[in-house]
């Protein structure tokens, strides 16, 4: 920007020594990145992720859709991978929790798509049915309430992907998603791999910040 409409700061030339200039530029670069990520400070990592889990999860990240351009009036897009925390699991059910930070103080977070990835270990020639319930936290109720449920049929060992519906997307937007997996019929315990370094379940979500409530000025 111009100072007082006359002097351009970029045209002044270096007015400080190289060391100070470098420090200033590094500070600018840091602030630029943090501001654009809607962070006030760099995150502190409390729960490190195993490299194998990271590698597996990254294979499921996608780039922006082909042929689309970043537009100034479009909210910034993110893809988020959230690894599950397990709780209240027993042979009859497995509960998975996911936490999503709100990425902005205004405008909200719009989940455009979310899917659960989980690894199933099945004996050969076996078909397994599983009921998946999506539970959400209700602000007025300390207990989780059932939002939706789906019946899944699986016949192979490996990663399975499940697209999550609007109820689960809304729960992600509010910062906390809980899923309950309930196996049905004869099935070996520990068929759902929960804690292996490379097989930790995760939710992959495509998020847009500030896009939902944007008003375009014409």
């Amino acid at each position: 920007s111009l100072r007082g409409g006359s002097q351009c700061p970029a045209c002044e030339g270096p007015t400080m020594d190289l060391g100070s200039q470098r420090e200033l530029l590094l500070d600018l670069a840091k602030r630029n990145i943090l501001d654009n990520l809607h962070l006030t400070q760099r995150p502190t990592l409390n729960r490190p992720v195993a490299r194998a889990a990271l590698r597996t999860a990254l294979q499921h990240l996608h780039g922006p859709p082909q042929g689309t351009l970043l537009e100034d009036d479009r909210g910034q897009e993110y893809e988020i991978i959230s690894f599950a925390e397990t709780g209240l699991s027993n042979i009859n059910q497995t509960r998975l929790s996911f936490h999503f930070s709100d990425r902005t103080s205004s405008g909200g977070m719009e989940i455009q798509q979310a899917s659960l990835m989980f690894f199933i270990q099945l004996p050969p020639n076996t078909t397994w049915t599983m009921n998946m319930r999506v539970l959400v936290l209700n602000p007025r109720d300390p207990n989780l309430t059932l939002a939706t449920q789906q019946l899944l049929e699986m016949d192979t060992t490996g990663w399975h992907q499940l697209l999550l519906g609007p109820e689960a997307q809304a729960a992600c937007s509010q910062g906390h998603l809980t899923l309950e997996l309930v196996p049905e019929g004869q099935v070996a315990p520990n068929s759902i791999i929960l804690d292996g370094a490379a097989h930790r379940p995760f939710v992959s979500a495509r998020v847009r910040v500030g896009g939902k409530h944007r008003v375009r000025r014409r």
Binding site: L2, G5, S6, C8, P9, A10, C11, G13, P14, L25, L26, L28, A29, K30, N32, I33, N36, L37, R42, P43, T44, L45, N46, R47, P48, V49, L54, A57, L58, L61, P64, L70, D72, Q76, E77, Y78, E79, I80, I81, S82, F83, H99, F100, S101, R103
Partner: protein, 116 residues
């Protein structure tokens, strides 16, 4: 746009790379290893104002001369060495919940500079 070299004082792009290891950010930013921020610096004489870069053809040279002539006598000028092309920075990082986030931050890397 022109990249800054030697003692050039005209508007140019100065390369500036921030190594995330150097600032201790390599633990939460997975990729890339650094940020090629770059910035614009240098003078913008009146005859190159409005030129994205320096006059490089017959037509732009004529236009520059016209500008210089018509601008004679106007004080201040107000032309500034600014980014004329920028591109996004793709980041893959851990957020405070240890989730992995991938995003493209628009307009982060200065690719070319010119006089406004």
């Amino acid at each position: 746009g022109i990249d800054c070299q030697g003692g050039s004082r005209m508007c140019c792009r100065q390369e500036f790379f921030v190594d995330f290891r150097e600032i201790g950010w390599q633990d939460w930013i997975i990729q890339p290893e650094g940020y090629a921020m770059n910035f614009c610096t240098g003078q913008c004489p009146l005859h190159v104002a409005g030129m994205p870069g320096i006059a490089a053809s017959f037509h732009t040279a004529v236009l520059s001369l016209l500008k210089a002539n018509t601008a004679t006598g106007t004080a201040g000028g107000g032309s500034c060495c600014v980014p004329t092309a920028r591109r996004p920075l793709s980041l893959l990082y851990y957020d405070r919940d240890s989730n992995i986030v991938k995003t493209d931050i628009p307009d982060m890397v200065v690719e070319a500079c010119g006089c406004s």
